[in-house]
Structures are given as C-alpha cells and as structure tokens.
Amino acid sequence: MKKRRAQAKMFLGRLERSNLSSAEVYYRETRGLDISGYDQQITGIRSYTEEGLSVRTEDGNRIGSSFTELTDRKHLEQALAQAAEQVQYLPPDTGHVLYPGDRELFDDDCSSRELEQIPAERKQDFVLKLERAARALDAKVLSVPTSRYLESHQVITIVNSRGMKKVQRFSSCAALIQVSAGNTRQVHSGSYAVADRVFYHLSPLRIAQEAVMRAVEKMNPRSIDSGTYPVVFSPEAASQLLGAFFLSPYAPWFAENVMKGRSPLAGKIGEQVASPEVTIYDHPEGSSLYARKFDDEGVKTRKLILLQQGVLKEFAHSVYAASRLGTSPTGHGLRASFMAPVVTGLHAPCLTNGEHDLEELFDLCGSGVYITELDGLHAGVDVLTGNFSLSAGGFQIAEGKQKKSVGKCVAAGNIFELLEDIAAKGSDRREDSLQRFSSPSLLVKRLSISA
C-alpha cells in the first residue's frame, strides 16, 4: 500500500496545482491473466496490465468529465482542462456535486498476494485438468469448446480536492467450462462457472461434473405445449432474470429513476409490492467477490434493504440523487470502468434463501416447468416496463418430479408480476457464482411458456 499512498498523494498534489476549486481523480489499474485450453493444449494466454484515470471537475453544480489511459502528468493536466471546459456547455443541476471525503481509507482486505504467487504453469495445468475431467466423466461428451481460467488484481484510487483519499485492492480468480454432449442425432451444451479469491478452492472435477451433467441431461428433449405453467427457476436462471432488472441503470429501485418519473414504484415505500417470500438486499460488506468498502464516488457502502418480505423499504441513492433529494447517498454510485460515467448500481444484491430443497420445490410445483437457462437477456427485457420475453431451457416437472428436458422454449412475463407470484424459495443460493445478483431457486405460480 505504500506505493498507493504515494500515488494518491501525487494525484492530490496535481489537483491542488490545477487551481480548480473542486476536482476528482478516479484511477483504476488491473493486472490479469486469461488462459484457454482445447483438446489438451493451451490454445491461448492473455496476460495484461491496464491502467487509466478519469477526472471530474465541479463548478457551480456542473460536472465535466474526461478520461485517459495515458496517465503521465501532461495527459492528466489535459484531461483536467478538457473537463473544466465542458462545464460551460452543461446546465447547472443541484445534483452535480463531488462527495466530500468522510475519512481516509486504504483497504487491502479483498486482495490476494498468494494468488499472484502461484506459478503460471500450475494455472495452465488447471485448464488442461478441467478439460480432461469433463472428457473422462461421460462417453457422451463430444467436445469441450471452452476450458478457461481467469484471474484479476485491481486497484481503485479516488482522491478529490474536497478531502477524499481512498484506495481499495481486490483479487479474484474464476474457472469456466462449456461442454458439448450428444450423438450423431443431437448436440447439447452445458456450462458452469465458479469464482473465488483462493485458487485452491477451484475444483476441476466438481466444475466439470456440473457442466457435463447439464449437457447430458438435456438429451432426448420432449417438447411441451405452449401455455401458462407454474415454474421453478434454478439459482442461475433466477439470478440472471433478477439481475437483468436489478442491475440495469434504469432499474426502478434507484432513486434517480424514481425522481425522473421512470419508476412505477414511486411513492410506494412501505407498501407491499412483492410476495412476502421476497427479501432483497445489497450487501457490499459481505463475502461476495463484488463486496466493496466504498463506491466509485468514494461513498462508504452499507447494507441496503430494497424489499423486506415483499414490502418496499428503500431506494438506492448515488451522490447525484441524494443531493437532488436532500438526503444521504447510500454508496451506490458505480462506474462500469474508469471510462464510464457514474450511474446508480448495486454491488452484490441477493434474494435471501428459503428453507426448501429443490425436490421440495418440485413437489410444491406438482406439474410445471423447471427453467435452468435463460438467453438473450441483453435484448429480451424491458426494464422500463418490466416486461420480458426470453429464450429458456429446462425440464418438465410432473407429479412433483423433474422429467425430460423440454428443449428450447420462450418464457415471457413481467418482473413486477413475477415478484408477486413467488410462492416459495430454495435454500441453494450460490456464494461462488460469477453472477453479481445471487438468488436461490424460486417457485413462481405462473409464467407464459411458448414452445
């Protein structure tokens, strides 16, 4: 951290010398590794270091913004000048302020030196083992198109001329596999991904087993009739669907969207808007890979309960929304990268676990559809209206048991109606998923399925 303290001090010095009354430097550096294998060869290695900084300048409730990947003094000064120039083309807005620093913070809790010290050969070997394990598990495995190990080490530094000085480091590693299984008449694919901070927690056999099982159990699908069915969502599918609606910058759970008239939840704090089974909170202080001590505006993060037993409790506030509404930010101003603008977002949201295992959910369902995969989430959801229509894959449920694969179908509905229709939830929420939103299995009373 010594180097990072010195760097933060250097950025502050540059801001002081710029003569700008209020300005911020946001710096991000990432080192990473991405290894791919195929057919028992390492086919690709990507190793990288990337850094860049974004500056924001504030003048009369107007914020200019500029970024550069050239981080020397000259380019930092150019970026500051560019941002300061923009201000004249922006209308004043009481929401546009930089957050004053609450205290200095240099946090190293989420980084892992151990991960970096593991030799690259061991990580390459892991990729080959992963593929080998998948091929050995079942004769129906035809190929393993993806067998991959990823690792990243990141530093975020935020300083501003209003007293902010914060640095946080993070590390993570992940394994991904995609398996094709079948025969001369049919091919099905199954994939699985696991993320952690500890390399030795990644088990090639367990990851391969999940992917192979997912590919093989899709064989010999039997189409179902189009109609409205009770549906059980797997943890991955539920997390994908809820993530699409809770993580979008246009999500109705964000104060900025409420303020701009884009949320049907406006004025409903304290009202029952979902099933009593639904408690959703953002827990940036937890053990998730997405946990953060402060957001991308430097605001200390905290647990935020959005829905408690179906009752709307609170909206997420960035500095912009909080300033406009005269309240405190909740630590939910995020950037997709240093090049991206600050928008409202959630760090590590989850829908809390229930008490049922999957078999019990099938039993409660009786007959319906078990959805394990969703595709097309980038296009098939309308966050503004809550409507969705998505390619889905899964299994028939009959007499309370999982039956044949139903092949590809389309699941269509509305997220607000779906949240009201959640009848029960599983106890199987994953802690090791790459997905930012984390949900257990969910039993939903009804959903339109087209096949």
């Binding site: 860049g52 974004s54 990947e69 020397d72 190929s143 969705f388 390619s391 590809k408 269509a412």
Partner: protein, 461 residues
C-alpha cells in the same frame, strides 16, 4: 504515441527470440466523445483517450497475447521480452523486415468530429429531444445519446506486414417513452455509420427522434404477442440480426475450426433455402463494421458466404486460416488492444431478391410481421438462437393487422435458413454492437424483407 519502424522491428525480433512462428504488434490510439441528454437537458459529456499496445506470438494454432495500456518504449520492450520468456519453446522464430507502411483512408471523414465544437454537438441532442416530444403529446420521456469514435491502429507483423488504419465512426441514439395512464411503452433507433459529422446530413437528429417516438406510440394499443409456431415476416434492416445470430457466428472460423459448429463440415453443401445468398463485406462504403484493414493487417474484403443456399466460405482470421487451411477473408477483428483478434463479422447481409415487401406480406394467411427487432444471441455449438422483437404486427389474410408487443423468436440456424421461403427486394442495413470472444465490436446486420415459414414466437397471449 508514435514509434518508428526500427523499434517495431526490434519488438518483433525480441518477441520471437525464444520461439514461435509469427509475432504481431498492435498499437492503438483512439479518442471518443459521448454526450447524453434526458429530460430536455444535457446530463453529461465524456471525452477520453484510449492508448495501448498488444503483442501476440502464434505457435502452430495457439497464441500468447500480452498487452498494456499507457505504452512507452521501456514498457513495450519489457512486454515483448516477457512474451518471449512465456513462450520459450526453444525453436527461434524469424522476423522479416517490415515492408512499406500501408495507410488507407477508406472512410476518411468529410467533417472531422474533433473539429466540431462541443456546443454544436450538444445542440444535436436537444434538437432530437424536441422533435420526439413534438411528434406526440404521449411522449413524456426522451433519452438521447451521441457518440463519435476515432480509432487509430498500427499493425506490424513478423511477415513484414506494416499498416495503419484510421476508423472514424458516429452514432446517434434516441429512446422515447410514451405514456397514457399507467401504460408505458418505449421506442428507440440507434443508427451508426463509419463517417464523421456528415452523418447528420444523411440522418438528421429529428429523423432519429421521430422514428423512436413513432415506434413508442405504435405500441400503446398493442396486445401481448401470441404463443407458438407460425409464419414470420421479418422487415429489412435490423431484421438481419436473425442471419447474424442464426448463421453468421457459426460461420466464423473461431467456431468452425474447433468443429463445434454444425456448419464445420458443410463447405460446398446446401445449408439454406436456394433463395438465400449471403455476404460479409468489410469494404462497404461507410458501413458501420467497415475498415480498410482488419486488426491483423489484412485488407478487408467482400466474401460470399452462401450462394443460392450452398455454403461457399467461412469468415477466417489468421489462426483460423492455419487451422482450416482456408484463405484469409479480412475478418480478424478486436474491440481494442485489450483483445487478441478473432474471426468476426463486419457488415453481414442477405442479398436482395425480387419480391416487394407488400407481395411477401400478402402471401401470408396468418402470421407475424416483425417491423423492429432488438438484439439476440446464439449458442454456436447448437445454433440455437433467440432475438427480441420490439415492434410487431399480426398478419391476417395477407394484411397487416393490430400491433403486438413483448415477443421473442427462437429457433436453430440449421432450421431457419432452410425455412426462408421468400426474399424481398428492399435490402437495408442496421448498426449494432456484437459481443464475442474479442470484445464488443461495431457490426452491421442487414437483409431485405424475409418470409420464414415457421418460427417459435414467445408471447403471453
């Protein structure tokens, strides 16, 4: 960030000093401006510089890729040396001296965006906001985004290839939301072209805004989409996403070389209806996905992928060419220096036929007419695809009937290509961002109006 030929020669030699067949240096220096407006105000301006370099060493059909942002001479030397150490196969490669520098200005902007004052750019967004609201009193919310990108790349390879390409692109996007009582619907249009600010002479902000507003208002009386299989007419322009997803990705050598694509063994064989001929054309004038060279220094080209239903070519990058023994097609693309290149589509489209859209619609007794498509995705191993339909209408007795909303279409590439029964005469292309192994890239999709005999429509009624 300029480097002389001798230094690039030195980097290539260093990269191959411990082994490898080929080495390549990719340098990027790009700038962007993006502006967003909503609620009749400019909300934010973002300007910035991307600068980085990547070095790739190819051995057989495998690669090592290292990259760094903020490249200076010591850092690049260190990068090349680090890459060589990581390869270390003992068989020293050789680097030919770089040839003459090839520079191209296939799409040089007539009005360079860097010379347009910010004030003029912000005015474009406010004009669009005003036009969308003027279109109908139902429009209560408008979001507008402006973006210009100026990407400069230099590619130096150990086979002597040495080229520079400048790609200037402009995109303008409007989303309008209509509201009546509790009912809300939105419409959007996001055109983009490889050109400078002359883009707005061709496609004024008002045109984009009115189209977004029209689409939002058209859906105010829409019912939910029907469920089940039915004939589907796909309108021209962004309807081409069906070919992009259903077939295009599975024709990229990244998929075909591993043998996972169902089209891997189909060269010269029939994979589509005889009415289908399809192209990928990276040379298209101002095409959203066009460039003079691809990101491996290969001149872009017009490649006929399917001719009267028969598979004629894959889209092939350098590694794919080694794997498949297939000629290069200028499709080695990457979103930035952060990615090694992979075979990717540029501007991909189905060739027009002879029938008018009206004749095609009149031939359908009951079905669905998809006027505006959203994005989609595909599993290249199975060719199972999906895409969202933003604005659609029922067809009853050969005539367009009431609007419907909230539909997705699913199917497999293998089936849908054979089910194309009619191909219209009204080819147009639309701009999209395509996400795949080498990042999110500008790619145009296109088609004339098409009739597919049967597709699964996922709706709610």
């Amino acid at each position: 960030m300029e480097y002389d030929r001798e230094f690039l020669d030195e980097l290539l030699k260093t990269a191959l000093s411990k082994g490898g067949d080929e080495a390549e240096v990719f340098l990027e220096n790009s700038s962007i401006t993006s502006i967003r407006a909503d609620d009749q105000r400019i909300r934010g301006i973002q300007q910035g510089i991307y600068a980085g370099a990547g070095i790739r060493i190819i051995t057989g059909t495998n690669y090592l890729y290292v990259y760094t942002s903020n490249p200076d001479i010591p850092r690049l030397r260190e990068l090349a040396l680090g890459a060589a150490e990581a390869v270390r196969i003992g068989r020293r490669g050789s680097a030919a001296p770089l040839g003459d520098l090839l520079q191209d200005s296939l799409h040089a902007p007539q009005m360079d965006p860097s010379g347009i004052p910010l004030e003029d750019k912000t005015a474009l967004l406010l004009r669009a906001d005003h036009s969308a609201r003027e279109y109908s009193p139902l429009i209560h919310d408008v979001m507008v985004n402006y973006g210009d990108w100026d990407q400069g790349v230099t590619i130096a390879r150990s086979d002597g290839t040495y080229c520079q390409d400048r790609r200037v692109r402009t995109r303008f996007s409007v989303t309008a939301e209509a509201q009546q009582g509790e009912r809300r619907e939105n419409g959007s249009w996001n055109p983009g072209l490889a050109m400078g600010s002359e883009f707005f002479d061709l496609i004024p902000p008002e045109t984009v805004a009115r189209e977004a507003a029209r689409s939002a208002c058209a859906l105010m009386d829409a019912d939910y989409a029907p469920q089940g299989s039915m004939p589907v007419v796909l309108a021209h322009e962004f309807g081409g996403v069906i070919f992009h997803e259903a077939c295009g990705h599975a024709l990229e050598s990244t998929s075909t070389a591993k043998g996972v694509s169902p089209f891997s063994e189909k060269m010269g064989k029939r994979i589509a209806s005889a009415k289908v001929s399809a192209f990928d054309d990276g040379t298209m004038d101002h095409g959203w996905g066009s460039s003079a060279f691809d990101d491996e220094g290969v001149k872009t080209s017009r490649t006929r992928l399917i001719h009267r239903g028969k598979l004629e070519s894959f889209m092939v990058d350098r590694i794919g060419s080694r794997q498949l023994d297939h000629p290069l097609t200028g499709n080695g693309r990457r979103a930035s220096y952060r990615f090694p290149p992979a075979s990717r589509m540029t501007n991909t489209f189905i060739q027009p036929g002879k029938k008018t859209p009206e004749e095609i619609i009149a031939s359908v007794e009951r079905g669905l007419y998809c006027r505006k498509m959203g994005g989609g995705s595909v599993n290249t191993a199975t060719t199972e695809f999906n895409f969202a339909v933003h604005e659609a209408y029922l067809i009853i007795d050969g005539k367009i009937d009431r609007p419907i909303r909230g539909a997705s279409l699913i199917g497999t590439g293998r089936d849908v290509l054979r089910r194309i029964e009619e191909v219209g005469n009204d080819l147009e292309l639309g701009a999209g961002m395509c996400g795949s192994v080498s990042g999110s890239l500008p790619a145009a999709v296109g088609q004339p109006t098409l009739l597919v005999s049967s597709l699964v429509v996922g709706g709610r009624s």
